[in-house]
């Protein structure tokens, strides 16, 4: 069942020269965990704020179920929101912060004490209830802000880069907990981030957005393995996809001045070829590509080799125990399935 649907939504801020969000069509399923992923300034936060009602769209329609939400105020949208800077109320205790949505909206407060304690124990902050937010660590503050969002029992949970202000180990810990929370609450989560690891690990589906435009909405593995745009290939993955401007003849490709056999049904003559670093292998025999080793980066579980191919410097990801030829010449191999073809503008071909 479609739960949230955006129809041709655009947003242009006052005095801005271009749209922050441009003609976006997006359907979000009930109980789905959708991650909106994009670089900073891509319009992903604006999109979330449009769903929350904190911004008004310039054109287009937003539906929750069958209900048109354009003119519904944030208070009546039945959503909760978690912010990057936590946005806790500094003069209130943790208890009062969590209880705030119930008290502020004038709901029944008879079981409020038990409810706050239940949520606090769910988030492992039951010992902090009497403290003020200023006395808490960043991770604890974000847990409180999650609690404040949960108590409202919203239909949609909106999160705007909730982990970006935390350090790496806390991020990993809270990532798992937010995922668990999603399973436990059984409601729709819409999560905005610029961090591909968060998107990959948590999302049911990822919506990739760039310059206010929606590029692809798909499952994480689909979006990683079959990007529909060369930019997605270079944005996702660490290190990113290697891209070459190439000439295609139907049964061969010219990559970095080296001609390789490659049969394809693609008609275009000029194409962009994408190969992920982990799909390139070192071979001792004559490979399909030959280059020279510039440098090697040891990452513990793997090694990244920087290889110079004609004018390109590409990255090759190999197992940590790989032996890298000392003579600086390296033969690389890959299978046809791992080669992605894009047109000059970046669109995926065939």
């Amino acid at each position: 069942m479609t739960f949230v649907s955006l129809k041709n939504i655009s947003k242009r801020f006052k005095n801005a020269e271009s749209d922050a969000v441009s003609n976006i069509d997006l359907k979000i399923e009930n109980k789905e965990f959708l991650v909106i992923l994009g670089p900073s300034g891509s319009g992903k936060s604006s999109l979330l704020r449009l769903i929350a009602g904190l911004e008004e769209s310039t054109s287009g329609e937003i539906y929750f179920g069958n209900e048109l939400m354009n003119d519904v105020s944030p208070r009546e949208r039945d959503v909760s929101m978690v912010f990057q800077n936590f946005a806790l109320f500094p003069n209130m205790t943790v208890f009062e912060n969590i209880a705030f949505p119930i008290r502020a909206s004038g709901k029944d407060t008879t079981n409020l004490d038990d409810e706050v304690k239940r949520i606090a124990s769910l988030l492992k902050i039951e010992d902090l209830l009497e403290r003020k937010p200023g006395a808490l660590s960043g991770g604890e503050q974000q847990r409180v802000s999650l609690g404040r969002a949960i108590i409202k029992k919203p239909k949609i949970f909106l999160m705007d880069e909730p982990l970006s202000n935390l350090d790496a180990s806390l991020r990993a810990e809270l990532r798992t907990e937010i995922k668990k929370l999603h399973e436990k609450l059984g409601i729709t989560f819409i999560y905005v981030t610029h961090d591909q690891t968060e998107a990959m690990t948590m999302a049911d589906r990822i919506a990739l957005i760039k310059d206010g435009k929606l590029l692809q909405v798909d499952k994480p593995e689909e979006i990683y393995n079959s990007p529909n745009h060369s930019w997605i290939g270079s944005f996702l993955g660490s290190p990113p996809m290697n891209l070459f401007h190439s000439v295609n003849s139907g049964d061969s490709l010219v990559i970095a001045s080296q001609k390789i056999n490659f049969k394809s049904s693609v008609k275009s003559n000029k194409v962009v070829v994408g190969i992920r670093p982990e799909n390139l292998h070192i071979t001792s025999e004559k490979g399909r590509l030959t280059g020279s080793v510039l440098s090697t980066e040891y990452l513990g579980d793997s090694k990244i080799i920087n290889v110079k191919l004609d004018d390109y410097i590409i990255k090759v990801k190999v197992p940590h125990d790989s032996i890298i030829p000392n003579d600086h010449d390296i033969n690389l191999d890959f299978s046809d399935n791992d080669v992605k073809l894009f047109d000059i503008d970046g669109k995926h071909l065939g």
């Binding site: 909760s80 946005a87 109320f89 705030f100 909206s105 909106l158």
Partner: protein
């Protein structure tokens, strides 16, 4: 002379001036307050703390202290409340309206206090207003400016008229520093505008060291209030009466000095001024303490 001592030599002229202009007169007044001395009878006879002890049992002095305290707390409270209202008006209005409002609101700061004592006087405001109320609207009633509740309120309003803009500027700065997300979170959680003010804006204002320092400074300054109560002495026809109902400590000192009924009791006046100095200095000490925590 060693090189280490040279800097101190250069400091001497400056220290001499500070002593002559700042510390000297205060010491001089303090010594004066410990003697029996007036311009009519200029022989100085030391009397110890007699002048201070006499003050303790002087009902006119106590009355002026009460009047001053009433006006200090009344005026500063009014300034604070009006300042918050103006600040909310400015922060919630659009960019154009904001710049127009803030320039209009700030004008009174530049007005001389004695002028506000005249601006808000019975003759300038209430003659016409009362004519309108009594005859024009036939209400059969008018604003009686000789009633204490009216004239005390008017003095407070006159003071707030000048100083509320200062409180407004400080409050605007505090409100601007509150993260926008706090309001957005409250909005999404279903809070009304009143709840947002009551739970976010107001707590942030009163928790701010800047507002506390400003209020303390205003109180220290208001303790020396002179011009507006002085004007009201005339509006109430009490200008030759010592211990009139609008005599603040400063006005009392002036009247004691200028009245021909007394023989210019300099020693008593300096004793009062030393008491006033102690009150304002202790408030200033509080300000310094607070503001050092602000700067940390």
């Amino acid at each position: 002379m060693t090189n280490l001592k040279v800097p101190y030599v250069f400091l001497i002229p400056c220290l001499v001036i500070i002593f002559l202009a700042g510390i000297g007169p205060v010491l001089q007044s303090f010594l004066l307050s410990l003697s029996e001395f007036s311009l009519a009878n200029p022989s100085r006879a030391p009397v110890g703390f007699h002048n201070y002890i006499a003050l303790l049992s002087d009902s006119i002095f106590w009355k002026s202290i009460q009047v001053t305290l009433l006006l200090v707390f009344g005026s500063v409270f009014l300034e604070f409340v009006v300042g918050i209202f103006l600040a909310l008006l400015i922060t919630s209005s659009g960019q154009r309206a904001r710049s127009i409002f803030s320039s209009i609101f700030v004008i009174p700061i530049a007005i001389a206090p004695i002028v506000t004592g005249i601006l808000w006087s019975p003759n300038s405001v209430f003659d016409d207003l009362n004519t309108l109320l009594y005859y024009g609207l036939s209400l059969g009633t008018y604003i009686d400016t000789t009633r204490p509740v009216i004239y005390y309120s008017l003095i407070m309003i006159s003071d707030a008229y000048i100083w509320a803009p200062l409180l407004m500027l400080v409050t605007v700065a505090i409100i601007r520093s509150i993260p926008r997300e706090q309001y957005e979170a409250a909005e999404v959680m279903g809070a009304s505008s009143w709840t947002k003010f009551n739970k976010i804006t107001f707590p942030a204002i009163i928790a701010s060291p800047a507002i506390i320092v400003t209020l303390l400074l205003r109180m220290a300054d208001a303790f020396r209030m002179f011009e507006v109560p002085y004007a009201w002495n005339f509006w109430l026809g009490q200008d030759s009466e010592l211990g009139a109902s609008v005599d603040t400590v400063s006005v009392l000192m002036w009247k004691m000095f200028s009245s021909t009924m007394y023989d210019f009791p300099i020693a008593q006046i300096t004793a009062i001024s030393i008491v006033l100095l102690i009150i304002t200095l202790s408030l200033c000490a509080l300000v310094l303490r607070r503001s050092s925590s602000l700067l940390d």
